[in-house]
C-alpha cells in the first residue's frame, strides 16, 4: 500500500519506506523474549511516520535490550553500560534534526546509569527513552536488578532479593522537569503501539517503561499478569492514550487518571498489587534543553571568525 491512505487518496512520495527498510539482521534474542515485540512496534511506528532511516538514531547501553540498535537499519550507537543517555543527549544537542530513540534496561538505566537517567529526565531533550524492564540482569545471566521483586531468586541472591524494588516510573515522575511518563506491557502490541506512538509525538523526553518478559531468567515476574488480566490496571482518560478496543477489551480493572495530575500520577505508579499501564503524566510546557543547546548551529564561518577576532581584540596589547 504505497502511500495509500485510509480515505483512498494517494501521497506521491519520492521515497516510501516499508517495514523492511527499518529491519536489519535477525534479532538474536531468545524465543519468547519481549524484546522482539518492542522492536517490531518501533519499526512499525517508523514506517507509519515515514521516518528517514538516515535521520533516525537508536542509542543504547549494554544488556540484552541494548542490542536493539543492531536490529534497526537506521544509524545506531551501542555504547557503554549505563551511558546511553549522555550520548543520546549529546547527539541531540547540536543535531535537533535527528530523531533519537534510546533503548535501555533496568540495570543499565536504574543502576549503573542512574545518575545519567536523573539528568536526562531533567534535560528533557526531545527523544523517546524505552526502559525494557524485565526485573533482572539477563545478558550477564540472572543477577538481581534494582527492579527485581523482593524474594526473587537470582544468582546474586539465591535466597531471594532482600530489598523491595525501585519503581522507575515513580522515580522519573519525581524528577524536576519530567514531561512524559507512560507504562505498557510487551505482550499487548496494540497498547504498546499507542504508548510508543504517543511518546514519539510528545515534544520532550518521553520515558516509557515496558514490563518486559524474560522467559529465561525472570519468567515468574510477569507470568501471572499475562494469564490474569485483572492484575493489569488500564489507566485511561480523555487526555490519555486512545487505544482501540482490541488492546483494552480484556482489562476490567480500569482507573481514570488525568495525565496532567502529577501527584495522582505518583499514586497510580506506586501501586504494587497491579501493573498500571497507560499515560501517567504529560506536560508539554516544560523547558526543552535541546532548544537551548542548539542555538547558533547555523552560524557561518564568517560569524565564527568575527567572534574570534573580537575576542582577540580583548587581549590585544
Amino acid at each position: 500500500m504505497f502511500g495509500l491512505k485510509q480515505d483512498w487518496s494517494l501521497d506521491v512520495l519520492p521515497r516510501y519506506f516499508t517495514l523492511d527498510d527499518y529491519e536489519s539482521s535477525v534479532p538474536r534474542w531468545c524465543a519468547g523474549c519481549g524484546d522482539h515485540g518492542i522492536l517490531t512496534t518501533v519499526q512499525r511506528i517508523c514506517r507509519d511516520k515515514q521516518l528517514l532511516p538516515e535521520k533516525t538514531v537508536c542509542v543504547s547501553g549494554i544488556g540484552c535490550s541494548s542490542r536493539f540498535p543492531h536490529y534497526m537499519s537506521t544509524y545506531g550507537f551501542h555504547g557503554l553500560h549505563g551511558r546511553a543517555f549522555p550520548v543520546a543527549c549529546g547527539i541531540k544537542s547540536r543535531r535537533p534534526d535527528l530523531d533519537v530513540w534510546v533503548a535501555t534496561g533496568d540495570g543499565d538505566c536504574c543502576s549503573i546509569g542512574a545518575g545519567h537517567w536523573v539528568h536526562a529526565v531533567r534535560y528533557n531533550m526531545d527523544m523517546v527513552a524505552i526502559l525494557f524492564d524485565n526485573n533482572v540482569y539477563a545478558l550477564t545471566k540472572k543477577q538481581s536488578s534494582p527492579t527485581s521483586q523482593i524474594g526473587q531468586s537470582t544468582n546474586t541472591h539465591p535466597k531471594g532479593a532482600p530489598l523491595p524494588p525501585l519503581n522507575p516510573s515513580t522515580t522519573t515522575l519525581s524528577i524536576t522537569n519530567c514531561s512524559f511518563v507512560a507504562q505498557t506491557v510487551d505482550w499487548n502490541p496494540v497498547h504498546m503501539h499507542e504508548t510508543l506512538k504517543a511518546a514519539h509525538e510528545h515534544k520532550g523526553f518521553s520515558f516509557v517503561r515496558i514490563f518486559q518478559r524474560c522467559p529465561v531468567f525472570s519468567e515468574e515476574c510477569f507470568a501471572e499478569a499475562q494469564t490474569d488480566p485483572d492484575l493489569v490496571q488500564l489507566v485511561e482518560h480523555d487526555n490519555g492514550l486512545q487505544v482501540s478496543e482490541s488492546g483494552t477489551r480484556i482489562y476490567k480493572n480500569r482507573r481514570t487518571h488525568d495525565p496532567s495530575d502529577l501527584v495522582q500520577a505518583m499514586a497510580v505508579s506506586n501501586q504494587t498489587d497491579v501493573l498500571p499501564i497507560g499515560l501517567l503524566y504529560q506536560n508539554e510546557t516544560m523547558p526543552i534543553y535541546n532548544e537551548y543547546s542548539s542555538v547558533g548551529i547555523n552560524s557561518t564561518p564568517e560569524d565564527k571568525i568575527n567572534a574570534l577576532n573580537h575576542q582577540l581584540d580583548r587581549f590585544a596589547i
Partner: protein
C-alpha cells in the same frame, strides 16, 4: 609605547638599567593584590616589556588573615626580552604582612637577592601577639639574609581612605610604577579600564591612590630601575593558557565544549561560557565527568566534533569512554589541564603526572594521539591541530597542558585568524554505496566516516569488536584486524613528522629531554649552563603519541640523555630498580635504550636555576666557576 613620565626629580639615585626583574605582591586574600599585579603586568607589556605572570593562590578558600597558608597575590617577571617562565627567586617583593612571606619562603620563592618592602603597621598593632610576631619575623628575615625595607603603607593610605585596607593595592601599584619607571598616564588609563563598571568616583579615588603611592615611593625608596623594551613590532596578545585553549576551541571551529567543574581546568570553560555564543557555540555543564565526555562523543558521532576540558581526576572517570572513542573511532578533543596527583592530590598545583594515564589508561590496546603544547601560544594552536587530527584520523586526541600554563600569563604574537582552521560543515551528502562504515586503508588504518543524516551510510557504532561493516565479530581474525588498523593510524601520523629542533649544539655531554610547560625553564637553564661552559643542549617533545621522530639520531650525539619532568620518580641509584619518570619510561620502551631521568613533584613550576643545578650534578661539575648570567634577574 611611550617613555616613563614618572616625575622622579627627588630620587636619590639614577635609575639602574636591568634586563629583568621578578616582582611579587603578596598579602592576605581579598586585599586586591591580583588586581594590582595584573595592572602592573599589563602596563609593563604595553610599555614594551616581556612578561610572565603567575597567580599566587592560597591553599584554602577562606584562610584566616595574616596566615602563612593565606599567601595570595601575583608574581610578575618583567624583562627586556620574551619571558617564558616564572623564573627563580624574586628580586622585589611588596608584602602587606610578614606572615604571608613565610608561605612563600617555604616555596623557595625568595633568596639573598630578594628585597622586601614590608608593611610596618603591625609593629604598633594594639595586639601584643601581632607586634611580637612581627618583631620576631623581622629578626628571622634578617638572619636569613633577606633585605627588608619597612614602609608605613597603612598610615599613608589612611590619609585617602577611611578603610585603608581597600586602597593599599593601587597604592602599591604606585610604588611599583615609581620603582620601575612606569608610565603613570598609561597606568591611569588601565585603572580607568579595570574600574570602568564601578564609576567615576572609584576611578578618581584610585587615581589619587596611585599618585600617592608614587609620591610615597619618591620619599621612601632609594632605588629605581629601567627595563629596556623588547624590539617587537608584531601585534601582541596577553592571556593565560586556559584562555588560549578556549580561544583555540573557537578557532578550531568546534562549537561545543562539554565539561564538569574541576580545578585547574574550569576557567577555560568559564571564559567560553561567556563568549562562545558569539561564535554559535555552546558550553554544556554535564552532571559528571563521565557524562561530559559521553555528551561530547554523542555530538562528535553526529558530526559536530566536540571538546571536553578536564583535569586528572576527570581523566580517570572518562577512561571508559576514551576507550570507546578509540574502539569505535570517534573524533574528539580531550584537554587535560594536569594538576598534582594521585587522587585529589594538589588541585591547584602543577604536575606532569598524567602522561602515562593519557597513553595507557584504557582496557586493552587503545592507541590515540597525544599532544603537549609547551607554551601559552602553543596552547592556542594545538587545539586547532587537535581537531583536524581527530577528524582526519578518526580518533581521540588528548592535549596535555598543566596548571603552570593554565594560570601563567604571557605575551605572544596575535594570531592571524584563518577560515581554514574551522571545522567544515557536516557532510550530509549521500554515502558512497557499498562503502562500509570502517573501510580501513590497509596501510594507514584511516577510513571515511558516515555521519547520521548521510543516506546509505547507516551503521551501528559499537564498542564491541567489529568488522569493517561495524558488525559485532568475536572471531580471532576480526579483532586482530581492528587492533591493527587502529594502531596503523598512529604509525601513519608518525610518517608526517620531522625531527624536533635541538636547543643548543647538536652534540655534547648532556641532552635534556622535556615536554609540556617546562620548555621555558629548561631552555633558559640550558642557556645559563652553556654560558658557564657546559656542553648541554635540550630537546622538547610536542607529540608523545605518536612519539616524535629522529630521537635515536639526536640522542646518539650526546654522552648522556636525561629527561627533566615534574612527576614522580625514584632518584636514580636510590633503590635497586628505581621507578623512572614518565617520559623516561616511554622513551626507554620506545627506543630500547638507556635514558636517565630527574623529576620531582613540588607542585610548583621548575625554575631555571634549579635545572642548572640538576645539569651540573649530572655533569659532575657541582662547583662551577662564577660567571655572569647565572642568577635570575641579576642586573648587568
Amino acid at each position: 609605547m611611550s617613555k616613563a613620565t614618572t616625575k622622579n626629580g627627588t630620587a636619590q639615585t639614577k635609575p639602574q638599567t636591568i634586563d629583568e626583574h621578578i616582582v611579587e605582591i603578596v598579602c592576605d586574600s581579598g586585599e586586591g593584590a591580583q588586581k594590582a599585579g595584573t595592572l602592573f603586568a599589563t602596563i609593563s607589556a604595553k610599555m614594551g616589556n616581556g612578561i610572565w605572570t603567575v597567580e599566587i593562590i592560597p591553599a584554602e578558600i577562606k584562610p584566616p588573615a595574616r596566615s602563612r597558608e593565606g599567601a595570595s597575590g601575583n608574581r610578575i617577571r618583567v624583562g627586556s626580552k620574551e619571558m617564558t617562565n616564572a623564573g627563580d627567586e624574586a628580586n622585589l617583593v611588596v608584602a602587606l604582612n610578614e606572615q604571608v612571606l613565610y608561605g612563600r619562603l617555604s616555596q623557595d620563592a625568595y633568596g639573598p637577592e630578594t628585597t622586601i618592602l614590608l608593611e610596618s603597621v603591625w609593629a604598633t598593632d594594639p595586639d601584643a601577639n601581632i607586634r611580637d610576631a612581627y618583631t620576631a619575623a623581622l629578626a628571622d628575615f634578617s638572619a636569613r639574609g633577606l633585605n627588608v625595607i619597612e614602609l608605613p603603607i597603612h598610615e599613608a593610605c589612611s590619609e585617602l581612605m577611611t578603610d585603608p585596607r581597600l586602597g593599599k593595592n593601587i597604592f602599591v601599584l604606585g610604588i611599583l610604577c615609581y620603582i620601575y619607571q612606569r608610565d603613570t598616564a598609561l597606568a591611569k588609563q588601565e585603572i580607568a579600564n579595570i574600574f570602568a563598571k564601578k564609576g567615576e568616583k572609584v576611578i578618581s579615588t584610585n587615581h589619587a591612590l596611585l599618585d600617592a603611592g608614587v609620591e610615597f615611593a619618591i620619599k621612601h625608596i632609594p632605588f629605581t630601575y629601567t627595563i629596556p623594551n623588547m624590539d617587537v613590532t608584531d601585534d601582541q596578545v596577553v592571556m593565560n593558557g586556559n584562555v588560549a585553549v578556549a580561544l583555540g576551541v573557537m578557532a578550531s571551529g568546534m562549537d561545543m565544549v562539554s565539561m564538569y567543574p574541576i580545578t585547574p581546568a574550569t576557567s577555560a570553560s568559564h571564559y567560553l561560557a561567556g563568549v562562545f555564543d558569539q561564535a554559535g557555540g555552546f558550553v554544556h555543564q554535564a552532571e559528571d565527568e563521565i557524562a561530559a565526555i559521553g555528551f561530547a562523543l554523542g555530538a562528535s558521532y553526529a558530526g559536530k566534533t566536540a571538546c571536553t576540558i578536564t583535569s586528572g581526576p576527570g581523566m580517570a572517570l572518562k577512561t571508559e569512554f576514551i576507550g570507546l572513542a578509540v574502539m569505535s573511532e570517534i573524533p574528539i578533543v580531550i584537554v587535560n589541564v594536569q594538576r598534582g596527583g594521585p587522587s585529589t592530590g594538589l588541585p591547584t598545583k602543577v604536575e606532569q603526572g598524567d602522561l602515562l594515564n593519557a597513553m595507557y589508561a584504557a582496557t586493552g590496546d587503545a592507541p590515540k594521539i597525544i599532544m603537549a603544547p609547551a607554551t601559552i601560544e602553543e596552547s592556542f594552536y594545538s587545539i586547532i591541530t587537535a581537531r583536524q587530527l581527530a577528524e582526519a584520523f578518526r580518533t581521540p586526541v588528548i592535549v596535555l597542558t598543566d596548571a603552570n600554563l593554565a594560570t601563567g600569563q604571557t605575551l605572544y604574537k596575535r594570531p592571524v585568524t584563518k577560515e581554514d582552521w574551522l571545522a567544515p560543515p557536516i557532510d550530509q551528502s549521500d554515502w558512497h554505496a557499498g562503502t562500509p562504515a570502517y573501510a580501513w586503508n590497509e596501510e594507514t588504518g584511516i577510513s571515511p566516516r558516515p555521519i547520521p543524516g548521510q543516506k546509505g551510510g547507516e551503521y551501528v557504532l559499537t564498542g564491541l569488536a567489529h568488522t569493517p561493516e561495524s558488525h559485532v565479530a568475536y572471531n580471532p581474525q576480526a579483532n586482530q584486524v581492528g587492533c591493527d588498523m587502529r594502531s596503523r593510524k598512529i604509525a601513519a601520523l608518525e610518517q608526517t613528522f620531522t625531527p624536533p629542533k635541538v636547543h643548543g649544539d647538536e652534540s655534547g655531554d648532556l641532552l635534556i629531554v622535556g615536554w609540556g610547560s617546562t620548555l621555558g625553564a629548561i631552555e633558559e637553564a640550558v642557556d645559563r649552563a652553556r654560558a658557564k661552559g657546559h656542553k648541554v643542549s635540550s630537546v622538547h617533545l610536542r607529540y608523545l603519541s605518536p612519539m616524535e621522530v629522529g630521537l635515536e639520531e639526536i640522542f646518539a650525539k650526546f654522552k648522556k640523555v636525561m629527561t627533566v619532568e615534574i612527576n614522580y620518580s625514584d632518584p636514580m641509584g636510590s633503590v635497586a630498580h628505581p621507578r623512572p619518570s614518565q617520559l623516561a619510561m616511554m622513551l626507554r620502551a620506545h627506543l630500547m635504550q638507556e635514558v636517565d631521568f630527574w623529576s620531582i613533584v613540588p607542585g610548583q613550576p621548575l625554575g631555571p636555576n634549579q635545572i642548572v643545578g640538576v645539569i651540573e650534578d649530572k655533569l659532575g661539575t657541582t662547583k662551577p666557576s662564577k660567571k655572569k648570567n647565572e642568577k635570575a634577574g641579576a642586573g648587568k
